[in-house]
Symmetry: C2
Subunit: 297 residues, 2 copies
């Protein structure tokens, strides 16, 4: 949680910025102004970033992009970094990418998302967008890990598999042991892929529910409290209660609230409201590290 | 001192940002990324800003411009804010000004500076630039207050001036008292205007000396120490010793060192080096408030 403020930063909250570490991937969502320094405060090098996902082109969600991109070059990061954003924001992304003079050496790849879109991150992850309901074009992101197999030690033992054969049955799907072919399905069970969703600036909408459906972790905007529901509707935002209802209705496992209005310096106000509706909820604080729930068994 | 880092921010130093308050004016120099939040941390509203002076278009000196400009609109600032920068940087300033989607309502006026240029700030202040010697087009700034008159209480009394007549003699240059016309020069003495200079990224050059000549306060880059003199030359920067020599040679009254390399987390290293050459020197720390020396008598 690199920053949790909405429109205006405060003494205690930087503008947005959320880094999701997932095996070898580092997905940076909505780098607001100051994200470069927040990474330093969190003890994370920009080389941890493999992908940047921008929900929309309001400043609090993207003005940190120039600093992060320039820092990739300055630090000599070698791997490619892909940047996603709503396709209609191209003109802003072009300006942000060349906002000041620098020696661009990093391998930055722009991949605009066309509303409801899906891209492959790697062998096991796909990233999808849905168009949300905000004052400007905005998308949310959903990351889905491919389902896999979980090896079962008792079955491995019963089948007589050990040592390098365990790796082979995983890679090749079956392995010959003592004259018999053992299939992966015999020594393993189904393992559901983990799922993550990132829902920023939006009113309540079906697209938000689709993004959040059954995810293990949902990071959701929670700009206002229910008492400010009219403001939330007018400016295209959610209340803490709405975020909690979204999590409940979508069958989310853990909810993280963020993107707080400066009206409420104490994030526990949001927590208290959401908790009445949805139990496993965290109101993010600056530089918090929040884990995905452990895989379901 | 809103930020004192050079290329990369650190845990303890934000990117550049320097606000000079001068009567009703607020001159913001080199807003690096995060300046908007640093203002909040310093307890200063963006409405305090009347003019923004950018020395050059490297990111650490200008990536905070979008946030500051957008905040002027968000906060409904009514007075005009003029932005100065080297004219060759126009394309970057245009991108920074419209880097993301917002409702531009503030009265922002762009006034590019053509190398050696001078503009009028108000009745008593002029702002000048000189071209420095950096890796890209860069200027330094010099602010000069018009010389004036300091009223002398004993002379006022001797001439029989009191109450509203004191204001009139200042405004009108003379006033009639008991049948006699008293001129301002009779009841006052010459008052030298205060002077300020801002010298950022540059190698040692005559232009830096011209900017700093006889100023009361010089804010000067001090990226490296003398032991790194080759680096300083190669990258177009000054060492603490060079900044001190500049202040000495230019007849500066007080020197403030800033724009420190991340190599040296402790600013006292710079201070120790500079102090051997120039006595009235401060190595800036984040959010320090440093006063111009009192007017000379």
């Amino acid at each position: 949680m690199l920053g949790t403020a909405s429109q205006a930063p405060t003494r205690y909250r930087n503008h947005n910025g959320y880094l999701l570490r997932w095996d070898g991937e580092g997905l940076l969502f909505d780098p607001g102004e100051g994200t470069q320094r927040q990474l330093t405060l969190a003890g994370i090098a920009v080389s941890a970033i493999t992908r940047i996902c921008v929900t929309h082109l309001h400043g609090d969600h993207c003005l940190g992009l120039p600093g992060v991109l320039q820092r990739l070059s300055l630090d000599g990061v070698q791997h490619p970094v892909t940047v996603h954003y709503p396709a209609s924001g191209q003109v802003y992304v072009d300006r942000l990418r060349r906002a000041s003079i620098y020696d661009e050496r990093a391998d930055v790849r722009l991949e605009p998302m066309e509303g409801d879109d899906t891209v492959t991150v790697n062998d096991s992850l796909t990233l999808s967008t849905r168009t949300l309901d905000h004052r400007v074009d905005a998308v949310g992101y959903r990351l889905v890990e491919r389902d896999g197999r979980r090896l079962l030690p008792d079955r491995l033992e019963a089948a007589g598999l050990s040592g390098p054969e365990v790796g082979r049955v995983q890679r090749e799907g079956s392995v010959e042991v003592g004259g018999r072919r053992v299939g992966l399905h015999e020594v393993s069970e189904h393992r559901r892929g983990q799922r993550f969703a990132f829902v920023m600036d939006t009113r309540w909408c079906d697209a938000a529910l689709e993004l959040a459906a059954g995810v293990d972790l949902l990071v959701c905007e929670s700009t206002f409290l229910e008492a400010e529901r009219e403001l939330a509707d007018a400016y295209g935002h959610l209340t803490a209660a709405q975020a909690a209802s979204l999590a409940l209705e979508a069958g989310v496992r853990r909810l993280v609230l963020a993107h707080f209005s400066q009206r409420h310096p104490d994030e526990r106000e949001y927590l208290a409201e959401a908790r009445q509706i949805f139990p496993d909820v965290v109101a993010a604080r600056e530089l918090d590290r929040i884990a995905l729930p452990l895989r379901r068994r």
